[in-house]
């Protein structure tokens, strides 16, 4: 009889809720669909107004993304007919392919730096979070606050000192430098998130393992880590998303060897006019790793599977 009593939703309520959820999902996913669609459009379709919902798909954007091309005379093209489907696509614009673009390298840089810093953030974060959760540490609360305080302003606010430090340490435009930077930024998030998860794992499990004949480190790896899998997976996803999408530091600190995809993709636009399909193709491919990583770790994100074997 209370105002807050929980009752089963009626059929119309379910319908309305369903429509709202689907509507919201469509609105949020629309820009994504737009980008994916644009990647398969021809340059003229991409800028057509009103926008074309139905269009003839082409891989032009992807071919342009992965290649560098040069304009040729009609005679040259007549003498050297295209040998492959992708050469045929560029030949339509009186061009030939002269080599691969730098997108592949930049994408690999993103993979190395993104996953490298994610691994380090989660690895160091788990150890630190365990220590903060379980041991008596002098000034523990102050240290936790200090760690959090590194996130109280946008990381880019310290861009100038970091730029100077990187220059004098020779870290500019290196993979190691970018991995360290992203790890440093992510570590506070990782320690805080993981401490919350580890706090929830009852100490009794470790105590039982200690008595069962294991050292504290073995208890940590055999008992705590498997149960922290949920927290580790979700922390890893957050860390990866940050490192993967980071733009400002990447523009500032990388230019060649270690440049990641985010600062590279916009530069595609300058090659041979405004090539929106190539940019969209780059963005689509760029999205894939995070989506795949999230799907792979999805089952760990479902909480509650490991809890409930301790009587509280």
């Amino acid at each position: 009889m209370s105002d807050f009593s929980v009752t089963a939703a009626s059929r119309p309520q379910k319908w309305i809720a369903g429509i709202l959820v689907i509507g919201y999902a469509l609105i949020t996913i629309l820009p994504l669909l737009w980008i994916i669609a644009t990647g398969f459009k021809s340059p003229s379709d991409a800028i057509a107004y009103p926008p074309k919902i139905v269009f003839e798909p082409t891989l032009e954007g992807y071919v342009n993304l992965f290649t560098t091309r040069t304009r040729q005379t009609a005679e040259f093209l007549a003498e050297n007919p295209p040998q492959t489907w992708y050469e045929a696509i560029v030949a339509k614009y009186d061009m030939t392919i002269v080599g691969p673009s730098r997108f592949g390298e930049r994408f690999m840089n993103s993979v190395i730096i993104g996953f490298g810093s994610t691994f380090l953030s989660v690895f160091l974060g788990t150890l630190a979070a365990y220590a903060f959760s379980r041991f008596r540490i002098p000034l523990k609360d102050d240290l936790m606050f200090f760690i959090l305080s590194t996130r109280m302003m946008p990381p880019i606010a310290v861009a100038i000192p970091i730029f100077l430090m990187f220059r004098s340490l020779g870290l500019s435009d290196t993979h190691a430098g970018m991995i360290m930077l992203y790890t440093a930024v992510n570590l506070s998030l990782s320690v805080w998130l993981l401490k919350g998860f580890i706090d929830e794992i009852p100490r009794e499990y470790e105590e039982a393992a200690l008595i069962d004949g294991y050292t504290r480190f073995q208890a940590f790896t055999k008992v705590v880590l498997p149960q922290a899998a949920t927290g580790i997976a979700s922390t890893a996803i957050f860390c990866l998303i940050f490192a993967w999408n980071e733009y400002a530091f990447a523009v500032l600190l990388t230019s060649g060897t270690a440049q990641t995809a985010p600062p590279f993709i916009p530069t595609i636009i300058g090659v041979g006019g405004q090539d929106w399909p190539a940019v969209a193709a780059g963005a689509t491919i760029f999205l894939l790793p995070v989506v795949v990583f999230t799907i792979l770790l999805r089952k760990h994100l479902l909480r509650g599977i490991t809890f409930g074997a301790v009587r509280k």
Binding site: P202, E204, Y205, E207, A208, A209, L210, I211, D212, G213, Y214, T215, Q218, V223, P226, Q227, T306, F307, G308, A309, V310, R311, K312
Partner: protein
Amino acid sequence: MAEVTLHNITKRFGATTALDGVSMTVPDGSFVVLLGPTGAGKTTTLRLISGLDRPESGEIAIGGRPVADLTPAQRNVAMVFQQYSLYPHMTVRENLAFPLKSPILRTPADEIDRRIGRVAEMLQISHKLDNKATALSGGEMQRVSIGRALVRDPQVFLMDEPLSSLDAKLRSDLRVELKSIQQEARATFLYVTHDQVEAMTMASHVGVLEKGRLVQFGTPREVYEDPVSIHAAGRLGLPRINIVPADLFGPAPEGVEWIGLRPEQIRQGEGPQAEVVRVEHLGDQTRLHLSFRNHDLVTVTDAHTELRAGQMLSIRPENPFYFDASGARTHRGR
């Protein structure tokens, strides 16, 4: 198996003193039950022996060897926690195998199978071995938890109210089972319980703790028949001992403030009249709730008694326990 000795152990948690100068010897092959109210220091005692906590002062020795510098693993003790702490990411079988696979024991696989099979049968969990630990009922979890201790051959078994969450039938089965395991293996048990039946039937020795102090240590019979204080007397005996003012039945010896009457210390059919307030037929016995000069007394009578509420019954104390104002027993050995 080994003897465990505690010498003058003190343990504090912040401002509270959990154990205050406790000395005790758990003889090799004995079954020692610790009794006492919540907060008396029973669980703390087990945790100090296991090495999960360290005492502020005092010495603990297992098998004659001081253990202050040993980790829980090195002490080779098995412990059953009050909160059954099964590893939730493992199956029942993996839980039972976990201590045997430890770097200290490194038991061969066929030996692990043999031991798990034996323990699982004894605890009636053979059909659950391949279940996830989280897919068990509370009672099953507790049995696996006991099993995880019993698969080993430790120096000493430490058990913290292991049977308290089980139903009555299983509890009495396991009570007998644990006792016979202990006797067969000549194992040393230190066992915490609130259950008087467990204490009386399983214990070779009973230790009574009160506010961090060991107030009495002896056989269950000694503690029952010759308690040192009101507190110790109240730990054993069902129905509980009746504590009434010393002069309730007439003049009392010098310095005696209270008398304690167990049911068998209340002679029926003689003496002054008490009113029967309630009659509880328990089958094998009948409990009488009496009112005597505005004091409530509980005693036991014949299973087939004709007494009914409202009737009068004459009663007389017989060899009561005498206690002084502080609750300490006086006139012992009378």
